[in-house]
């Protein structure tokens, strides 16, 4: 089915992981301390043969955060991430002719350029919304990953476009006790305690042409990326793949049994595999329904009642109760909050 598991090793360790190792080395942290419990050694990585699973990558992030307990770490990491030195995917990004082409790299070849965070681009009448989704079940490290991903995309799009793009940033988490890092490194309106992790931008920036790119190099890189992705055990993590499948059928979501049939495995196997990503079926379903509801409420001008119907809830009380369980807010509260930044 083309989905990879949490312990399948295929992420080149000399890619994004090496950026983190270099960053730590600059601050005099021994790489072998960072690689503890990943089963890798610096020597293997330098030879360019070592591969990580998403689980190993999370372990590396865990080790880095312990050795360098500095809230700036994720932002500094993000600044160095893109376009990066990840082969064809980096070339593809560096030669993007406009924002749409740059974001396509994150959406279509995410596993090559940012394997732990999946990007989902959706367009409304005024805005583009780049939402970040947890591919690896990263739990306490999700905030780190999302900080790095947003810093990285904001920084690389500014570099490639030659202008400061007026991104707005939405975070699921509350404002942490280091707001200054967000203010300085992201430098756009920040909305904490929102229901999704996403970046918003007025739609007119999407097709505006960027300077300094080569259309030929881009075409060649596109071919290479497609070949590279075909040789991987999967283009998406199982967690992310199932999430997208649920999202696609959100009006009538498949049960665990039906999902397992779609994935050609038994429900018990599916459960076990999801557990590897610290996830379970119901959690993914709730996430998918909440995210879809937020999109409809915020960007498609729909009210709580319409969303209730589209999510196939029989009555609004039931919907309100479920929504509150997913998000801690009632749909109406969430609607008001979301309208605020969609109108900016």
């Amino acid at each position: 089915m083309g989905f990879f598991l949490h312990d399948q090793r295929f992420i080149p360790a000399h890619g994004q992981a090496a950026v983190l190792l270099d960053l730590a080395a600059d601050q005099a942290i021994d790489s072998n301390v960072l690689l503890r419990h990943t089963g890798l050694f610096r020597e293997q990585i330098v030879q360019g043969e070592a591969q990580l699973s998403s689980h190993d990558f999370l372990q590396l992030i865990h080790n880095s955060r312990r050795s360098l307990a500095d809230p700036e770490l994720s932002f500094r990491y993000g600044q160095r991430l893109f376009p990066g030195h990840y082969g064809a995917a980096s070339t593809l990004l560096a030669n993007a002719g406009n924002l749409a082409q740059a974001l396509q790299v994150f959406c279509d070849f995410g596993v090559l350029i940012q394997p732990l965070a999946g990007a989902r681009l959706s367009l409304s009448e005024q805005h583009l919304c780049l939402q970040w989704l947890d591919c690896a079940g990263s739990g306490p490290h999700w905030r780190f990953i999302v900080e790095a991903a947003m810093t990285g995309v904001a920084s690389v799009t500014r570099w490639l476009s030659g202008e400061r793009l007026p991104w707005q940033f939405l975070f699921r988490h509350d404002c942490p006790d280091y707001p200054e890092q967000y203010q300085v490194h992201l430098s756009g309106p920040l909305h904490f305690a929102s229901q999704i992790d996403a970046m918003l931008l007025p739609l007119e920036y999407l097709e505006r042409p960027w300077p300094n790119h080569s259309a030929t190099a881009r075409q060649a890189a596109l071919q290479q990326c497609q070949q590279e992705i075909a040789s991987l055990p999967g283009t998406l993590s199982l967690r992310h793949g199932l999430y997208l499948h649920l999202l696609e059928h959100i009006h009538q979501p498949p049960s665990l049994q039906e999902s397992a049939e779609w994935l050609e495995c038994s429900p018990a196997t599916l459960k076990r595999r999801l557990k590897g990503f610290s996830s379970h079926y119901q959690q993914l379903l709730d996430e998918a329904r909440l995210h879809q509801a937020v999109h409809w409420l915020a960007f498609h001008g729909q009210g709580p009642d319409q969303v209730c119907a589209r999510l196939n809830f029989t009555d609004s009380t039931n919907f309100r109760r479920s929504f509150k369980r997913w998000s801690g807010q009632t749909p109406a509260m969430c609607h008001r909050q979301l309208l605020r930044f969609a109108q900016r």
């Binding site: 270099d22 960053l23 500095d70 570099w159 280091y178 300085v184």
Partner: protein, 296 residues
């Protein structure tokens, strides 16, 4: 950590040899006591004191470079350790009453060690005064090592908030806060690479420090943003200080690793405190950073 200890390998070996010599000398001239003769309370007390002296030696060697002050401290503590060590040997080995050197080692070494340690601590104090004088504009009134910044030799945003809160309590004095942002640092970082751009931040910090008064405090806020606390300073004075800082940085010719000059410029946002808390003062200064008029 290993590197620090290896600087002091000689001292550690000397201490080990001395401790062994004491054991050998005791064994050569005395007889072992039987188990019933041992006094466990004394053994625990004297052994514990010897161990603690050893631990202090370890901590000091580990945290300090070699030099006169370190030598004094370690010699003093080593002498103390040997005195306790001999004291501990007494508990296990009965020396004949004709032997006098053990009394000298016990009672003579103790005051000598104390004296050396006192001398060491005195010079440590002098050394600290010298270091504090150098640190003055980066640290005010009290020290908090946990709020030090990882990249530049400055304190971070937490220290800034604490210091602002303290200064804001003095309501009869004006207080100004200036936020400084490097112009187009995102661009510079990509041009210069990580090493040079980190060094650029450190060197700009030095330039800013050189242009501040004794009472001012410079912190790194986050990324390429610095904060300057100007106590007892009203708007007019703060504006002229800010201009001086901007000019100083504009005249700073940063050199990359390849020796190429990279021009630097800063933007400033000034806020003068009136009856508010640290966070709102910081927020106003940050806002003024982006508006060209710089009005607070």
């Amino acid at each position: 950590m290993k590197q620090r200890l290896s600087l002091h390998r000689g001292s550690l070996i000397a201490l080990l040899v001395m401790a062994n010599l004491v054991v050998l000398a005791n064994l050569a001239s005395g007889d072992l006591k039987t188990v019933s003769e041992l006094v466990w309370l004394d053994i625990a007390g004297e052994g514990g004191a010897a161990l603690l002296a050893l631990l202090w030696i370890g901590l000091i060697l580990n945290s300090r470079p070699t030099g006169r002050v370190t030598r004094l401290l370690v010699t003093g503590l080593s002498t103390l350790f040997l005195a306790y060590w001999q004291d501990l040997m007494d508990e296990f080995i009965q020396l004949p009453s004709a032997v006098m050197w053990d009394h000298w080692l016990e009672s003579g070494a103790m005051p000598l060690g104390m004296l050396l340690l006192t001398l060491g601590i005195y010079h440590w104090h002098r050394e600290q005064q010298a270091i504090s004088a150098q640190l003055q504009k980066r640290e005010r009134v009290f020290r908090e090592h946990r709020s030090l910044d990882g990249l530049t030799p400055l304190s971070g945003p937490r220290y800034l908030r604490e210091q602002l809160a303290m200064e804001l309590l003095k309501q009869d004095q004006p207080l100004s806060l200036v936020m400084l942002d490097l112009h187009c640092f995102d661009h510079s970082r990509r041009l210069l690479g990580p090493h040079d751009s980190d060094r650029l931040l450190r060197e700009v910090a030095e330039v800013l420090l050189l242009n501040l008064r004794q009472q001012d405090l410079l912190c790194r806020y986050a990324g390429d943003r610095f904060a300057v606390v100007l106590p007892r300073t009203g708007r007019q004075e703060a504006e002229s200080l800010t201009r001086e800082l901007e000019q100083a940085v504009r005249h700073f010719a940063f050199k990359t690793q390849r020796g190429i000059t990279h021009p630097v410029a800063i933007m400033a946002g000034l806020a003068v405190a009136h009856d508010e808390d640290a966070d709102s003062l910081i927020e106003r200064a940050n806002r003024n950073l982006h508006s060209p008029s710089r009005v607070a």
